[in-house]
Amino acid sequence: MRKQFVTTMERLLDEDPRLVVLLGDIGVFAFRHAFQKHPKRVINIGILEQATVSVAAGLAKEGFIPLFHSIAPFVVERAFEQIKVDFGYQALGGHFVSVGGSYDYAALGCSHHCPGDVELMQAVPGMQILAPGHPAEFDSLMSQTFASGKPTYHRLSERSNSEARPVTFGKAEIEQLGSGPVIVTVGPFLDRVIEASSGSDATILYYTTLAPFDDETLREHAGDGRILCVEPFYEGTLAASITNALRGKRIALSSMGVPRRFLTDYGHASYHDAACGLLAADIRARLDELRHV
């Protein structure tokens, strides 16, 4: 997905002179061709995230479309107030592209984990939040939102689904229709949800746009109200969006995501998937549990 990010930005830099890419001293080698071709609009800005977000807001005020890229905790948590006030409050357009969400960078420890990014970004009114599950989906969603004039958060993952879906900004995809519980899942978790629900009668709704949340698709396919949400960030992050979409309807919501504790072990992301109970077998068990509600 990171490779696609560079390819997409190279294309958009060529197409739109308003784009300015600000790198937080990461991805510098990957962007080497873009640096050469657009030396004034691709900037390794340094390790100063709060100032960078405010600088990006200044660029937006001058008519540019700024994009800031760094590791998730440094984009979202470090500079959160700047994002809230400078972009959210002032209703400025720009893009925030993170890598290393949740525990993608497991070996680097908790300072580099960020399972709370989407929840924080949800707290900024007007923020568009995207979590593609495949490189091609990132390209599509970035292209669809690029000139939207709104602040937009793109959550890149180190892991991808095996196949891209034809994603539309603001819409959930119906992956499977059944008569049983409804699984709401996000980005790179789709493949494991499909594996977990194999042979079941579950409906699977695939979300890559998390804000604005597609209420309509969920309302139309909520069945008898048994909902399993499988999310690649803190468990419960989408709970408010789901309950709001289904307001007035009796529902049984079960959320699966990253548990709300510091994950102090190191190792690889796959180790944490197992330790957090986020493997396909765990999802299947939770689905079966919901079947008896």
Partner: protein
């Protein structure tokens, strides 16, 4: 047990190779400074890491964790064997250091710009308690981009934290993004005492870091080479966050100075 810096570099390379992970070049950049600090400068007590009489050391550039792990192991805080568990799911030595896990690690760092203000807070606390302990921290030059570094510099001078020393590991890795210019002049303008040294010259390191009187905090601008001691890594950005593969390891060990 590593009895020389060359041995220690070997242990670090082997640990990173086994883990497939590590900021080795950043660790090698500060290894001479750490070696001198922990061989005669800092008061420390491996038998009681929380000894109130100890001096405090904060590795603000936490990604150089392999350096502090190696040094703490040489001083007996834990066995050198433990480096083999680096970054593993069952080990306590992570890619960034965790103060709740690793004896001798004073602060959990990894997000740049946190360690120096924490160290300043420790120095302020020690001053309030009228302790004779001192605080030393190491920041990277890239880390000096962060505003929090300069906020800490401002308040350390204001609160007259003369027992606080900040070492800047100035290996110029941040130059590709943002030039720092005359860093010594910048610290002086914040009313700090400034010493400029060769960060690989042990006599200069010792002279700059030994305790000094007065109530003015000291900045030690240490000119260093990122990856020092391993030719292929020296000032080579490709090695910023990369571990040697098994078939590369022997060649890298042969290069160690």
């Amino acid at each position: 047990m590593a009895s020389t810096l060359r041995d220690l570099r070997e242990q670090i390379l082997r640990a990173a190779c086994a883990a497939g992970e590590g900021h080795i070049a950043s660790a090698f950049s500060i290894l001479d400074i750490l070696w001198v600090l922990y061989h005669g400068i800092l008061r420390h007590n491996p038998a009681n890491p929380a000894d109130p009489a100890r001096d405090r050391f904060v590795l603000s550039k936490g990604h150089a964790s392999l350096g502090i792990y190696g040094i703490l192991a040489t001083r007996g805080f834990f066995p050198m064997e433990e480096l083999k568990t680096f970054a593993s799911s069952s080990g306590r030595l992570g890619g960034h250091p965790d103060s709740r896990k690793v004896p001798g690690v004073e602060a959990s760092t990894g997000s740049l710009g946190h360690g120096m203000p924490m160290a300043a807070g420790m120095a302020l606390g020690l001053k309030i308690r009228k302790s004779s302990s001192r605080v030393v921290c190491i920041v990277g030059d890239g880390e000096c981009n962060e505003g929090a570094v300069w906020e800490a510099a401002l308040l350390a001078a204001h609160h007259k934290l003369g027992h606080f020393t900040c070492v800047v590991d100035f290996n110029h890795s941040g130059d590709r993004a943002l030039m720092l210019g005359d860093l010594a002049a910048k610290f002086r303008s914040f009313d700090w005492d400034v010493v400029e040294i060769d960060g690989h010259d042990h006599a200069q390191i010792e002279a700059a870091l030994k305790p000094h009187d007065g109530d003015v905090p000291r900045a030690v601008i240490a000119s260093t080479i990122k990856g020092k001691g391993c030719k292929e890594m020296e000032n080579n950005p490709a090695w910023h966050h990369k571990a040697p593969k098994v078939d590369e390891l022997e060649a890298m060990l042969a290069q160690l100075a």
